[in-house]
Amino acid sequence: MYYLGIDIGSLTCDAVLIDDSEKILASSVVPTGARNREAITRAADEVLRSACISEKEVTATVSTGYGRKRVEGRLTAVTEITCHARGIKALLPGTRLLIDIGGQDSKAIELDENGQVVDFAMNDKCAAGTGRFLEAMARALQVDIEVMSELDNGARGDLTISSMCTVFAESEVVSLIAEGLKVNEIVHGLNRSIASRTLSLIKRIIPDIAGFPIAMSGGVARNSGVVRAISNAMKSKVVIPPMPDTIGALGAALIARERYSHN
C-alpha cells in the first residue's frame, strides 16, 4: 500500500510518496505557478513516475498547505503546522522547536517530547523574514538566489540592515552597493536580519530556547548562510533534515497512512 502527501505552498507544490513501512519512495518539488491544479498534478505525477507506481495504487492522499482544499480525491486536508510537526518527528525525532521558512511565510512550532504541537507562531502578513525577502534582495544585488547561500562566506563585518520592510531594505541594499560595500558583507547583514526576525517570532512562543533541540525546514533551510545566522542568533545548533522543502508533504503522507489504517 502506498500513501501520498501533497503540500501546496505559495511558491512550490511538493509531493512525497511512502509505503506501508513509512519508507520514502519518492519526493518532488514543482513551482506552484498561477494554476494550483496543474501544479498538484505535476508534483503527484513526478513522484508516481519515479517510484513506478500508478495512481490507482495509491491507497490514500492527504493534502496540506494553503492550497490544500484544491486537491481532489483526498482522504482529508490537514493544516501545515500539524504536517510539519509529523514530518520532522519522523526524520529528526526529539526536535522541540521547528522553524519553517517558506516562500511567503515563516513559522515557529514548539513540540513536546512526543513530537506533538504545543504552540506555534506564524508570519504570513509581511514578506520580511520569508523567502520573498531573500528573492528581492538577490534581485537588488543582481545575484542568483541559488548562490546567495554561500555569498556571506568570509564576511566578518557586523553590518546591520536597518529596514525590516522588504521594499525599504531593497533601497537600503542599493545604497550600500553605491557606498562600495562588499556583496558578501551585505548578504551577511541580510542573513542576520532574517535571523533576528525569526528569533522574534520564536520568542512569541518560547521565551527561553536554551537546551531546545532545533530543526529547520522549508526552502530557506537550504540557504546555509541564513541557517548559520539563525544558529548564531540563537546560540544553538540548528539541524537541517534531508530534503527540508518536503517536510510538510512527508507529514501529510504519514498522516494519510495513519488515518487510513485507523479507519
Partner: protein, 259 residues
C-alpha cells in the same frame, strides 16, 4: 524678518520662505543621496522664486528625517511638531492631521494652538506610504501622478488582501493577468492604503477638523477612500507637500523673535 523652513524627507525636500507671516515662496525637489545637497538645492530654488539671496534669511529651522544634516540650519525640530504647526497655520480649526509621506505615515493630534497632543507613526513598513503607491503604479505601468484619477474610473474595487507591499504587488500582477481592469486594481490598492492609515488614525482618535498633508494628499483616489472611512471631509491645502517645511519656518519666526 525673513525666515526659512527646510523639510528633508525620504523622497523629497522642501523649503518654505516666510516674510513675517506671509509665505514668500516655496520649492519641492527630489531627495538625492546627499541630504545636505538636497537642502541646499531646495533652498536655492525657493530663494530664486522669492528673488532674494541667502544672506537675507534671518533664521532657518530644519525638519524631516534628514534634519540633522542641514548644515546652514540654526536648529532642527521633529516633523511631527512641524506638521502640526503648519497645518494649524493653514487651518486653525484642525485637531487631527494625517501626513502621508513617501516612506512613512503619521497620525497627529493637536490643540487649538497647533501643539502636538498625541501621535502614531509607521515608518517601519511600506504599507500605507508613498512607496506602496510607487510600487503599484510601477507594476501597472501607470505614471504615479495619474493613479488617483485612473482609480476613479473603477466601477468596483478589486480585492487586495495583503497589507505588505511585496505581497500586494503579486496580487496586483495576478489580478492583471486574470483581466481585471487597472482602474479596479488601483481602487483596491487605495482601499488597502486607506484601511492601513485609518487604523493608524484610530490609535490617536479622530476629531474634526481633519487635515491631510504630504505628497499622497495629491492622490484623489486615496483621499476619497480615507474620507469614506473617517466620515469627515478632509481639508487639503493647495500644496499639501510643504506643510512640514511651513511649520519649520513658523517655528523659525518664533525662535528668531525670542532672540
Amino acid at each position: 524678518m525673513i525666515v526659512a523652513g527646510v523639510d528633508i524627507g525620504s523622497l523629497s525636500g522642501e523649503t518654505v520662505i516666510l516674510s513675517d507671516d506671509k509665505i514668500l515662496s516655496y520649492s519641492i525637489v527630489r531627495t538625492g543621496a546627499d541630504s545636505a545637497l538636497t537642502a541646499k538645492k531646495a533652498t536655492d530654488e525657493a530663494l530664486k522664486n522669492a528673488d532674494i539671496s541667502f544672506e537675507d534669511i534671518d533664521y532657518t529651522i530644519a525638519t524631516g528625517y534628514g534634519r540633522v544634516i542641514v548644515p546652514f540650519a540654526n536648529e532642527n525640530i521633529t516633523e511631527i511638531s512641524c506638521h502640526a504647526k503648519g497645518a494649524n497655520y493653514l487651518f486653525p480649526t484642525v485637531r487631527t492631521i494625517l501626513d502621508m509621506g513617501g516612506q512613512d505615515c503619521k497620525a497627529i493630534r493637536c490643540n487649538e494652538k497647533g501643539k502636538v497632543t498625541n501621535f502614531a507613526m509607521n515608518d517601519k513598513c511600506a504599507a500605507g506610504t508613498g512607496r506602496f503607491c510607487e510600487v503599484m503604479a510601477d507594476v501597472l505601468g501607470i505614471a504615479l501622478e495619474d493613479i488617483g484619477k485612473t482609480s476613479l474610473e473603477a466601477k468596483k474595487d478589486a480585492m487586495i488582501s495583503s497589507a505588505c507591499a511585496v505581497f500586494a504587488k503579486s496580487e496586483a500582477v495576478s489580478l492583471l493577468r486574470s483581466g481585471v481592469p487597472k482602474s479596479e486594481i488601483l481602487s483596491g490598492v487605495h482601499e488597502a492604503i486607506a484601511s492601513r492609515v485609518f487604523a493608524l488614525l484610530q490609535r490617536v482618535g479622530i476629531e474634526g477638523d481633519f487635515v491631510i498633508s504630504g505628497g499622497i494628499a495629491k492622490n484623489i483616489g486615496v483621499i476619497k477612500k480615507v474620507a469614506e472611512k473617517v466620515g469627515l471631509k478632509p481639508l487639503i491645502s493647495e500644496e499639501p507637500q510643504i506643510v512640514g517645511a511651513l511649520g519649520a519656518a513658523l517655528f523659525a519666526k518664533e525662535r528668531y523673535k525670542k532672540g
